[in-house]
Amino acid sequence: MNLIDRYVAEVGKHLLLVKGRKDIENELRSTLEDMLEERAQKAGEPADEAMQMELLKEYGAPGRVAETYNPNPYLIGPRIFPFFMFILKIVVAAVTLGLTIATGIQIMSASPMTAVDLLSTIGKGLLNIVSACIAAFGNLALVFALIERYAPASEFKMDEEKEWDPAALKKEPEPDDVKIWEPMLAIVFTFIALSIFNFNPQLIGIYYLDGNKWHVLPLLSEAFFRWLPLMNIAWVAEIVLNGMLLRSGKWTTSTRLVSIATKLFQMVILGLLIAGPSILALTPDSLQAAGVNDLEALNILETMADKGLDIILGLAIFGSLVEIIKSIYKMVTQK
């Protein structure tokens, strides 16, 4: 096998999926031999390996030469790529939402649960989501690659190619439009909060290692759980509101009113939490039982925790108030 044969074979390796590969190889060989013959005639000496080397170097790397013969160099071409991305987003969102809800149900049904169980269930859930999304991406890419290869442009037309109407151009993004992932995330996290506070409240606490055993020091007192039914109403309202946003895709007067009512209700609950007895279960006694013996430090810690919590709850009330004012302003300025 001379150098030209080896070169042609190398180009052929890059053309395995191209129709008429043998034909291309034969034509390439014939052309290279013609060119070599012409060079040899000009030089007045028979073609040798050095001449072949020079010719092939000028002709170009086999991969690059093969590329010029490939009529369809894309796995998923620009014609169907936007459609691929559109479907991919829907599939990934659906897989993520479905598996997150499944993990939430698993956490609720496994009550009571230890912190290690909870972390392991959440970890497994996250891994499932990642692997399911990768698998969905792979399968979808495979389907679209097949469409790209076997549905010629003349036979497979995208909707916009059939009849395109300039009136269908997307308008400027409306300020009232809702990004789909925002209500989805809100639902997922509210759902998690609901399941932990109602079914596994023992998980909320400070964890410490005593010898080889993990202990948990409850963080929230009875005073907190007294308000749980009210909080449940607020969380369910939050889920309903985000469900409405998912459905309508934009903020409307009704969703804004529901949002204002929910925020007001949350402010009332936060106010009750501040005004009532301490919602922290961390007392000098409980901390002492956990092995902290410096009494003065315990008193300072308790005061700081109570004050800090009041500041956090106060900030949350302020945040809700800002949200309410923003909603009212948008309702007033809405076209």
Binding site: I24, N26, E27, L28, T31, D34
Partner: protein, 109 residues
């Protein structure tokens, strides 16, 4: 540097646009790829092999060219010639080209 590159790119685009017409116009009689390449070069149009050969295959797939393998000097060569459909198309393309030249002449004069 950037200017030279831009000029080269634009010239390349311009040439690419005329190669189809140039090739069809020179294939009234059968030619094999390399002979066509030299013929075009002799007439003043240098075309890269990597552009011409795939183009010939594409024009054949579109039915504008026909090809046949012939054994010459112990070497098989693939000869291309304009098909009946290509012959019908060529005058229309020439007319289109004349129109483009006339418009551009007006613009550039």
């Amino acid at each position: 540097m950037a200017n030279t590159e831009s000029l080269e790119n634009v010239v390349l685009e311009l040439r690419r646009g005329v190669i189809v017409l140039a090739a069809l116009s020179q294939l009234g009689a059968p030619e094999y790829g390399y002979s066509l390449l030299k013929k075009l070069a002799d007439l003043g149009l240098d075309v890269d092999q990597g552009t011409l050969y795939p183009l010939l295959r594409r024009l054949e797939a579109q039915g504008l060219l026909e090809s046949v393998w012939k054994l010459e000097e112990a070497r098989p060569r693939r000869y291309y010639v304009v098909s009946a459909e290509g012959k019908k198309l060529l005058p229309k393309l020439k007319k289109e080209w004349a129109g483009i030249v006339s418009v551009m002449d007006k613009m550039l004069s």
